[in-house]
């Protein structure tokens, strides 16, 4: 399989640097580092703690709710929600604290886990209307295989639906407000133009979420327009005509995923897994999909940033762990191969172990990886980084 040019494709710096405060490196696409070697996500975390007047922001939220509140029995807000801790928190707060009438919208996982399904059921039982969008299984599998082979990420078809389906439901149910949890671009490091405003521009979708490849791309690979339709956004005109606005609760309320977990345990019947997820130490984040592990693993290969690096970075910014603890966690778990569902994953995609490994190796960039007698090894690891300025 032809070697990929990760540096060009994702516009990565050729020299690897780690943030001085967290575990993330400058290899995360779109992240920026300041002159002190601190990443944009850490700077935002600090800004969020010290500069934002959260009482003022909550007043803005109440105004926003009042602007969209219908009071006639119709839904007045769409909450994209898998039944996980974050979406469930958003829906529960909007309904029971701010008196909105939300419709929770779920896009089906590629291959659901039992715990994920149980949590979605518990969420619905805790008092919500929910629509579950489930696309054609054969086409989803085909797209999963294609996106694994061509993009090095099995999650692409899921991300299409997860992003676009709530907009379909907004148009269909005449709902003008879509409320997400956190803005990942801001909280985890990305394009900071969204840091200081509550909304997301719909035209950013292709760039941030679809790696520049909208669903239509796959026509070239023999998927018909009709089969791609459920993965596509509603027409731009219909979104505009509906006056759809996308907002983030994280703009209005202090966002703390761990506290969301406790909140959902109390209020929406959420249960964490009893086992940690492969590739990380955590038990309560991203539990819904058996394919998860391969998405994170390929991210580790492409950018040297695995699931633990991201989880630890976020917990460091939230003050839950120290950088030193994060480094120990990354060293221990980041490169772990997701073995548990591997055969299922291969069968689901219809590819062989050799084919998958060829995909993996095609994404190993020379600026990140070297081959030793023991196997592949990262050239730069955060656990060797002392956090001192390297400039």
């Amino acid at each position: 399989m032809k070697k990929r040019d990760v540096i060009t494709q994702y516009n990565l710096p050729t020299e690897v640097r780690f943030c001085k405060l967290c575990t993330v490196s400058n290899q995360r696409p779109r992240i920026t580092f300041d002159e002190n070697g601190v990443c944009s996500a850490c700077n935002f975390a600090n800004y969020k703690r010290t500069k934002i007047n959260w009482e003022e922001r909550e007043r803005e939220l109440v105004e926003l709710c009042n602007r969209f509140r219908k009071g006639n029995g119709e839904y007045d807000v769409i909450v994209p929600c898998s039944g996980g801790k974050d979406g469930s928190f958003v829906a529960h707060q909007l309904k029971f604290k701010y008196g909105m009438n939300p419709l929770a919208v779920t896009w089906a996982p590629l291959k659901a886990t039992e715990i994920g399904r149980r949590n979605l059921d518990a969420f619905i039982q805790s008092g919500f209307d929910n629509v579950l969008g489930t696309p054609n299984g054969q086409i989803t599998r085909k797209l999963t295989r294609l996106s694994t082979q061509h993009l090095g990420d099995p999650f692409q078809p899921f991300i299409y639906g997860q992003t676009n389906y709530p907009m379909h439901m907004a148009v269909k149910h005449n709902v003008q407000l879509i409320m997400y949890g956190e803005n990942g671009e801001v909280e985890y490091g990305g394009d900071m133009k969204n840091a200081f405003r509550p909304t997301r521009e719909i035209k950013d979708h292709d760039k941030h979420y679809f790696s520049g490849l909208p669903p239509e791309f796959w026509v070239e690979h023999g998927v018909s327009q009709a089969d791609l339709k459920p993965f596509m956004a509603p027409s731009y005109e219909s979104i505009m005509e509906n006056k759809t606005e996308i907002h983030f609760l994280g703009y209005y309320k202090f966002w703390d995923p761990q506290e969301n977990f406790y909140y959902c345990r109390e209020h929406t019947g959420f249960q964490p897994n009893t086992e940690r997820s492969e590739g990380t130490y955590s038990k309560y984040a991203s539990l819904d999909d058996r394919i998860d592990g391969y998405h994170y693993y390929l991210g580790y290969i492409k950018f040297g940033i695995g699931r633990t690096t991201s989880d630890a970075a976020h917990e460091i910014r939230d003050g839950k762990i120290t950088r030193e603890e994060g480094q120990a966690l990354v060293r221990r778990y980041d490169g772990e191969f997701p073995q548990r569902y591997y055969q299922e994953f291969l069968d689901y995609c219809g590819i062989t172990d050799e084919e998958f490994q060829a995909v993996v190796d095609s994404w190993r960039s020379d600026h990140l990886w070297r081959k030793t007698s023991e196997g592949w090894e990262l050239k730069h690891a955060v656990w060797n980084d002392n956090g001192e300025s390297q400039g």
């Binding site: 249960q271 964490p272 009893t274 940690r276 955590s282 038990k283 839950k320 030193e324 120990a328 966690l329």
Partner: protein
């Protein structure tokens, strides 16, 4: 009739008391010393300190906390988490602990149990087992705060541990930990029916009545509790009164 002990469990990370769910999502509760003093004043029989990240980070940081506790808390202190050698045991006993619990290091090298029991006595050697249900009437022992499998069958491992010299078993249900759903009484009874030493029930205490169930249905000798006390949903005194009213034999405070 045996006397049942009530044991507040203090999970520690760094300098803080924390509380998780399934030993995860560790929430900072405050200064462990304040909680320890409060539970002592409420009439706790013993205190259990668990360094929940010791194995994960390969460190062992309870010395200072235990030294402070031993100065104004006058009940037996059990300390577990990150103890890997006879030397570690000596240090923590010197800091003021009365008993030590071992989990991870014992699963890797069971001989350590014998060494500790020989050196300091069985009454000092608590085998800590984190049990995760893997089928009907079957549990696997986990380490690293419920993160890593060992492949060991919990009941067999408990028996082996006692043969090697463990004088007590701290039995934590990973499935129930932090859930407030009550103890896994099947697990408790599976272990307590085959070992001659006391078994401490841990994981799941949600209401005062759960203590009675652990004793009557699970034959536990002691009950560890965290969430119910840390969040102030009940006190050691209230739990003692409820257990006494239910006819259990407890120390009179």
């Amino acid at each position: 009739m045996k006397k049942i002990r009530l044991i507040p469990r203090l999970d520690i990370k760094g300098p803080k008391l924390i509380k998780g769910i399934h030993l995860e999502g560790l929430r900072v509760m405050g200064d462990p010393q304040e909680f320890a003093r409060r539970y002592y004043e409420q009439g706790a029989d013993e205190l259990l300190y668990v360094d929940v990240v010791a194995s994960l980070y390969g460190r062992n940081s309870l010395h200072d906390i235990i030294e402070r506790a031993a100065r104004d808390v006058f009940v037996p202190l059990t300390v577990t988490g990150g103890i890997r050698s006879v030397e570690d045991v000596r240090k923590i006993l010197r800091a003021g602990a009365d008993k030590i619990g071992i989990n991870t290091a014992a699963t890797k090298r069971p001989e350590l149990i014998r060494e500790v029991a020989r050196k300091f006595g069985s009454q000092c050697m608590v085998l800590s087992i984190e049990a995760k249900r893997i089928g009907d009437g079957r549990w696997e022992a986990y380490t690293d705060n419920g993160r890593e499998k060992t492949g060991l069958d919990v009941v067999e491992w408990a028996q082996r541990g006692v043969e090697l010299g463990a004088g007590e078993i701290l039995l934590t249900s990973v499935d129930r930990e932090g859930t407030r759903e009550g103890f896994d009484t099947e697990l408790l009874s599976a272990v307590s029916s085959v070992v001659p030493v006391p078994v401490i029930a841990s994981g799941g205490m949600g209401r005062p009545e759960d203590a009675e169930k652990a004793v009557r249905q699970g034959s536990a000798d002691a009950v560890a509790m965290a969430d119910i006390l840390h969040y102030g949903r009940s006190t050691v005194g209230e739990i003692r009164a409820a257990a006494k009213a239910a006819g259990l034999n407890l120390r009179t405070v």
